[in-house]
């Protein structure tokens, strides 16, 4: 399951390069925004990658994004992105909102525990939700590129189910861990 996220990311990136060469003026323009993320939350500072691909008409942009999010539990957000630019000219402020599914890709475990007696336990992660909203600034460079900087509030959830055998009843029990993780996200990227 995991390698397909990479494959999807590569396909989206390749698709964006091919399609961006076919765009025309005064119609919906295809853009690809590829960013690196710095994620600062209560627990730690972490990083991520993101590629948003979509169309722009006027000051509005709507697209689909896929990312890698390493904050505490690695995951792959798949989301819709909508943003609105303010003003005219090459350099513009913008506001954005992203929402979608947070695909699990955390490190699961399934291993014997040897103390005090052997017990095989394992964990299984389940998908959650992903949101991110904030403001940014796009610096127009040589057409059609642009440097994009944004700051926002990012939120992701995951569920982990840990199963193990009860020492007394031998019953298989499940502990359910619910992770709701909020972060400030700083994105620096390049828009084609």
């Amino acid at each position: 399951m995991k390698p397909k996220y990479f494959l999807l990311l590569v396909l989206i990136l390749n698709g964006s390069m091919i399609t961006s060469g076919q765009k025309k003026e005064n119609v919906c323009k295809f853009h690809s925004i590829n960013s690196v993320l710095l994620l600062n939350g209560e627990e730690e500072i972490s990083a991520g990658l993101q590629s948003v691909n979509g169309f722009q008409k006027g000051n509005w942009f709507a697209g689909i994004g896929l990312g890698l999010d390493y904050y505490i539990h690695r995951s792959v957000p798949l989301f819709a992105d909508i943003r609105h630019e303010f003003g005219k000219g090459k350099n513009k402020f913008f506001a954005y909102a992203e929402g979608g599914i947070n695909l699990e890709w955390a490190e699961e475990f399934n291993e014997p525990i040897f103390f005090p007696w052997e017990s095989v336990s394992n964990s299984e992660f389940h998908n959650g939700v992903y949101t991110d909203f904030g403001v940014g600034y796009r610096v127009g460079m040589k057409r059609p590129g642009g440097l994009v900087l944004s700051l926002g509030h990012s939120y992701k959830t995951l569920k982990e189910i840990v199963t193990y055998q009860d020492w007394r009843t031998q019953e298989w029990l499940s502990d359910v861990y619910r992770y709701k993780l909020g972060r400030i996200s700083l994105k620096v990227g390049w828009q084609f």
Binding site: N40, E42, E44, I72, S119, R168, V176, R178, K180, V188
Partner: protein, 423 residues
């Protein structure tokens, strides 16, 4: 140049804000878990309740014992179901004897012997619908005063366990970031195997148990294995059992099976053979070592059959049947190994060897040639634990209930009845 510097200024501002706003975000992580809380009673209260109480649903079936038309089925840690099996196609669950801490039993004559935590209780079952406690013999099983990873209140008796569910705040991790996820369940160090699921069998002129037994009766003595000892209790006067001896036989003891004047004891490291010519002082006459695993054993004149299984508390990764030549008891020799899925209890009826192979169900082998066991029939769809087999009738304890089969024609095994487990 101007753009470059303004972008740099924005970047620096953003990084600053990234840290300023950090106090505005929170990680909220919870753990929802199940635990069992002990319900304590005084010893007198618990003893007074060891009687015929109304029948209860079967929830966690353990050892089985049959005597006449009655089946005694252990409800692990809670007591014994009495099942009227006059009609094998329609057994009736008629009563429940509350014996907290009970895991094993054996019957001789009209007396049923059962463990009650550290004590042995003798119960007159002349009328299974009106049983009478005859005697408590204290401290026969001293190791039962503690549990694995759990130290109970020593002044009281745990009469029951209540299942509870709770949600608490939990650490979110912290070993994540660029280096991946975390392993969150520290609590697992407390959750692991125990001897709680080991079972009871034994053969006596009056009753019969399964191969997972830890109690057995030979003539006037009850032999009961604990995790490290063989306890000998004189039952010459059935209603007045007297503790006679305790022989230390090493750790990891699991099952006991009698044959003539020998006891075959399964441990997680091997099979031991004890001679009981002197019944109060069993003497080790031979042993057969194997890979670490759980290993119920049965035997006849020349051959022992040992199932080795993996899993919690079994401390191993072996799932097989070992067939062992015991014609020279001092030097048992492995004849052949057969691979299994997760074998538990087993029984032999003439040339038919019946194996409870865990989730693979019940397997019937033709054992006329032990070097070439042939699978004749496999009954699937049940997770089997232990079996008693008598003259074409098999009583099977499975995860989801108590099954009875007619295997008088092995190629056409038919289900007689099932008493279901209620979750």
């Amino acid at each position: 140049m101007r753009i470059k510097s303004s972008f740099s200024a924005l970047l620096v501002s953003s990084v600053t804000l990234l840290f300023v706003f950090n106090s505005c975000v929170r990680d909220t992580c919870t753990r929802q878990y199940v635990y069992w809380e002990p319900v304590y009673r005084t010893k007198d209260e618990v003893r007074a309740n060891i009687k015929n109480n109304p029948a209860q649903e079967i929830q966690r079936p353990g050892k089985i014992y049959i005597r006449g038309n009655y089946i005694f089925l252990n409800e692990i840690d809670r007591g014994i179901h009495i099942i009227d099996n006059t009609n094998k196609s329609a057994p009736k669950n008629i009563a429940f004897i509350d014996i907290p801490g009970n895991m094993d039993m054996a019957v001789k004559g009209n007396i049923l012997y059962a463990d009650f935590y550290t004590d042995l209780v003798a119960i007159d079952i002349t009328n299974p619908q009106q049983v009478v406690v005859k005697k408590f013999t204290e401290s026969v099983f001293p190791e039962r005063s503690w549990g694995n990873g759990f130290l109970p209140n020593q002044s009281m008796v745990i009469a029951d366990w209540v299942r509870k569910e709770e949600v608490v705040e939990a650490p979110c991790g912290g070993n994540g970031g660029l280096f991946g996820g975390m392993k969150s369940a520290d609590v697992l160090m407390l959750s692991s195997g125990s001897a709680a699921n080991q079972s009871a069998a034994g053969a006596s002129p009056y009753g019969m148990g399964g191969s997972m037994a830890r109690f057995t009766i030979v003539n006037d003595y009850l032999y009961a294995v604990s995790s490290s000892a063989l306890n000998v209790v004189s039952i010459a006067n059935g209603a007045d059992p007297v503790f006679s001896n305790r022989v230390q036989i090493g750790w990891g003891i699991e099952t006991i099976y009698p044959f003539k004047n020998k006891l075959f004891i399964g441990s997680n490291s091997g099979m031991f053979i004890f001679d009981i010519s002197n019944p109060t002082n069993p003497a080790k006459t031979g042993s057969f070592s194997h890979a670490t695993s759980c290993d119920p054993v049965i035997a006849d004149d020349n051959t022992a059959f040992v199932t080795l299984r993996s899993g919690t508390a079994c401390q191993g990764f072996t799932d097989q049947l070992d067939v062992i030549n015991i014609s020279v008891l001092s030097t048992p020799i492995l004849i052949k190994t057969y691979q299994m899925t997760n074998p538990h209890g087993l029984a032999k009826d003439g040339n038919t060897l019946i194996i409870c192979d865990g989730r693979d169900g019940l397997k019937f082998y033709n054992a006329s040639d032990v070097r070439n066991l042939t699978l004749q029939k496999q009954v699937t769809g049940l997770d089997t634990y232990d079996v008693i087999a008598i003259n074409g009738w098999a009583l099977v304890v499975a995860k989801d209930g108590l099954y009875q089969y007619d295997y008088s024609s092995v190629s056409n095994v038919s289900l007689l009845s099932k008493l279901s487990v209620v979750n």
